[in-house]
Symmetry: C2
Amino acid sequence: MLYPTPIAKLIDSYSKLPGIGIKTATRLAFYTIGMSDEDVNDFAKNLLSAKRELTYCSQCGNLTDEDPCAICADESRDRTTILIVEDSRDVSAMENIQEYHGLYHVLQGLISPMNGIGPDDINLKSLISRLMESDVTEVIIATNATADGEATAMYISRVLKPAGIKVTRLARGLAVGADIEYADELTLLRAIQNRTEL
Amino acid sequence: MLYPTPIAKLIDSYSKLPGIGIKTATRLAFYTIGMSDEDVNDFAKNLLSAKRELTYCSQCGNLTDEDPCAICADESRDRTTILIVEDSRDVSAMENIQEYHGLYHVLQGLISPMNGIGPDDINLKSLISRLMESDVTEVIIATNATADGEATAMYISRVLKPAGIKVTRLARGLAVGADIEYADELTLLRAIQNRTEL
């Protein structure tokens, strides 16, 4: 015997989460038993409703509970700019700085030749049809600076440039507060290449 | 706007768990949305059933889904020995080594004068009444070697010794595989005090 069935099953569920091993799962399961009835009921309800109620916006592909999403539906936003990101968390990070007021396009993935993920496997086709019938003049690519992120950025820029759309990407360089001494070589290279005039 | 309501609520639920901050909670919530329907439904069900179906054994105080618990109900176990632990995880650790075949008593807490937790606030009274009407000849105290654990052990031994019950506690000394060089002073002191003959 180890644990009674209900707690063994809960440990099993917790340990399916990323970064949570069997010891942490056990700790969380025992903590759960000590939580208030209300908190546990809410937790279970929130798990189910997050899974059931969330869909992807038919326009931008962002996670949303209403279609179109709040950003696409917002008439006050600048409809001439689209910022392309990998997933919904990137939208949230960008919205947090309250500087960008255009629209988004969420790829929900990146082109990854190594993993057999091609342009048709991510939310890219809808971007093309979206651009056809819109007033968009600039597309900003904001994928991460990984191999897959770079490959995706290159692919998108090659597809869009012939159509006469301005394609830009986020600046690469030293992070604010970063030490030159400890910066990696590629970052330093980009920082000197993309230097700006004072 | 940050996240759609369903995911914001789920992040909130995850961040109520111990050791899980807002960043990890966000990562877990997004991971949950990508999980299979079956896994999420099971997770929600397991949360509720762990909270609803588990009770404390009326005899030993262990967490169980049936009363009395599997250990108390097991006729093959030695009913002359009771091992006292702080919580159900300690029972599980002890059962794992398959060396102890007596009964348990789970305190579900420790006496802690600093936090205002006295003998009446933990599952101790039922131990006394349990000992009155039983054939128990030895009580083994297996509380952790913390200030509260030591205080609890001292209290229990003072209450039980006058009743003529043999009270023992787990050996303290160097952990197997531990280096003498790196052992803390208290452990080394206990190791030399409790030395055994070869």
